[in-house]
Subunit: 408 residues, 2 copies
């Protein structure tokens, strides 16, 4: 299916060159879970000493692998860890059989990699409600293990795609006390994107050494500013998983290091933006900057109300500077707003202020902003210091085509 969709016009020109991460090896393969003629399974194996942190969907109908990962998080790190991901079937709403599939896969990986099953994490993405043909995945594990390679982040990123039109990767390098550590991550996701705690499947690896509890706290904190601030269609997946693995193989301790945090945030933001750029049917990348809200959480409520409004998103698709719909979204959000205090700008063009259209605003200036591929929409509530930036895409005919004409 991914093959049949045109590459997003907002996609980067090519997959980035990613560094190898000491202590990490990966492999991808074709298990034929649903897709034919492409890789659909990836295995990552990490050295002893790896700390693993994760953030997952809060959906009450979340998938069996998500529940299993949550239960396994925080285990002791001496034994190393593995992650196995398949695309094409999400193993969600598959009853008790879902856990059986997880257990069978984790056992098979544990046996071949010589890890305890408690350190084997799995994820599945694709159609909901169909039994996962886990035997097909297990049949590939031996060859995956034999093919493990330090430089396989790109094939791994390709293997986990569903309706994605491009594979997503990002990296950063940090020097701590003269020593270099690497951070690299991959992601998939383009529809059912309105993360709550996390989005889709995202795997980030670093050879830094970071203490387990600190790693988890850092991941959660940055997730709130990155993946939890994007939305494609307001729908939250049953499989959203974000994992961060610190192998420690560089020998450099980055626990509590500010530069490491910044680099990690840059990688997470880059991947989050790539998910939006591959939003189903997207033709515009939209950054919504909220300032002057009564609180940061109010700012986020306003930002997501605008980002999720079908009428705002269709106006953007139509290159219509329809700021009235932005006013509507602010009004319905439920967070504090005062009509006469708020101001709205498209890019650098002030459109509305003091409860009305700005006296200097000319429709052609607003329209010119809307023709861009990347649109910045600024809203100042005039109430306080609350800020939040949210990213989304437009809502186009192609979104309808993808979701009405296919079962993804």
């Amino acid at each position: 299916m991914a093959d049949s969709l045109p590459r997003s016009p907002l996609a980067p020109s090519a997959f980035p060159a990613l560094p190898s991460i000491k202590g990490l090896r990966l492999a991808a393969g074709a298990a034929g879970v649903k897709y034919q003629g492409r890789d659909d399974v990836m295995l990552a194996v990490m050295d002893p000493g790896t700390a693993v942190a994760g953030v997952f969907t809060r959906s009450q109908t979340r998938s069996a692998p998500v529940r299993d990962c949550q239960a396994k998080l925080g285990g002791e790190t001496s034994a190393g860890a593995a992650i196995l991901v398949n695309s094409g079937n999400s193993n969600a709403f598959t009853g008790h059989y879902g856990q059986t599939s997880v257990d069978e896969i984790a056992s098979a990986v544990a046996k071949i990699t010589d890890l305890p099953t408690a350190r084997v994490f799995t994820a599945s993405t694709g159609v909901i409600g169909e039994p996962l043909p886990h035997d097909r995945i297990i049949a590939q594990i031996q060859s995956l293990n034999a093919g493990l390679d330090q430089n396989a982040l790109e094939p791994a990123a390709n293997a986990i795609m569903t309706t994605d039109t491009f594979a997503k990767g990002a990296s950063a390098q940090v020097t701590i006390e003269g020593q270099t550590i690497e951070i690299a991550g991959i992601a998939k996701g383009s529809g059912m994107i309105a993360p709550d705690m996390a989005t889709m499947l995202v795997y980030i690896f670093t050879d830094a050494r970071v203490e387990q509890t600190a790693l988890q706290a850092e991941l959660s904190r940055i997730c709130d500013r990155t993946f939890n601030c994007i939305t494609v269609d307001s729908d939250t997946s049953t499989s959203d998983s974000l994992m961060l693995c610190a192998t420690g193989a560089s020998g450099v301790d980055a626990t509590g290091n500010a530069e490491f945090s910044q680099a990690l945030e840059a990688v997470m933001l880059d991947l989050a933006h790539q998910v939006v750029r591959d939003g189903e049917g997207a033709t515009k990348f939209v950054e919504i900057q909220i300032t002057g809200a009564a609180s940061d959480s109010d700012a986020k409520v306003h930002g997501l109300a605008i980002a999720n409004s079908p009428l705002v998103k269709t106006a953007i698709a139509g290159e219509d500077p329809n700021w009235g719909r932005v006013v509507m979204a602010i009004g319905k959000s439920g967070a504090a707003a005062d009509r006469d205090l708020l101001s709205i700008s498209f890019g650098e063009v002030l459109v509305a202020e003091k409860g009305w259209v700005s006296p200097d605003y000319r429709e052609e200036d607003g329209a010119a902003q809307m023709t861009r591929d990347e649109i910045i929409l600024k809203v100042d509530l005039g109430l306080g210091d609350g800020i939040c930036t949210v990213w989304t895409c437009d809502l186009t005919h192609q979104y309808i085509t993808i979701n009405a004409d296919y079962r993804s």
Copy 2:
């Protein structure tokens, strides 16, 4: 603009024959506010003794006429009342000038109809953020007043349309102690429909006599079960207004009468359903029946989460019995759910139960349900006695066309 859109395939065959309401006269006219070659303004004038109740949008950026109506509700009834509505411009987010327009129009109506301005209600619907050319409306008031007629509900319903593809009306008759009272209403609305307290513009008239406070309480109660249970696109208008006027001209007191309540609810539900049937781009009318929720309010949260999900709505447009997306919507709603207790049916076809697809379910049975124009989707949470029924439509290419290609 309404002229250029094809009539909804879910529209009733014709506008219903509506009774005249004793104590009510109406007229429609063409003020040229925005649309050319059609009526765009309507005036309703009611006799002394009329009680007026209203429910309005809770939007924080609601329009000047909405704020004005809210301020005027509950005034004394001895003087009668009037309602003036224009389409083409919503007079929302028009700063202090918005209230000036309201005042000018209300004063002009008051003068000609010999009513106090405190009893003249106005409403405006259409584009947000453009100054209302109220002089054009005022120029029509004399001829509107001269043309007042007991049998003009249909032209009034036509005059208030914006992106509607058909005019909406409904009526009921109740006999109380051998005497007949009439209830008749009109509505407009097809996009920006996710009412909160009320929806779009709805005017209901009865010749019953109902005490003011009781009338307001009854309207609010029934609104929660009708207009507040519909959604087209999750976006809430800045102009939503629902008004109920009891002229008392039949001489029959219906205060607290259960049959009157039932008839009123039937009219309100009929109008609410017509708004959904005219949902922008709609090809399917969808009833979502939630049972077994932890509470009625939880049931409503689940119902609206399903009804507002773009992925559920596009699946319905594609006639895809994609119940996995229903599971997703329940999971993200935030209300209580247990994967292993919930069951989902399309019409009479049990699709999923006990955390998985039903053993007897056959895809072709689900697919057959989806080919219907009117689809019933049942979800039982298995948790308690909470129930709610919600109505929506599908999300189609035509919604994108209407909202990306036009400024409504």
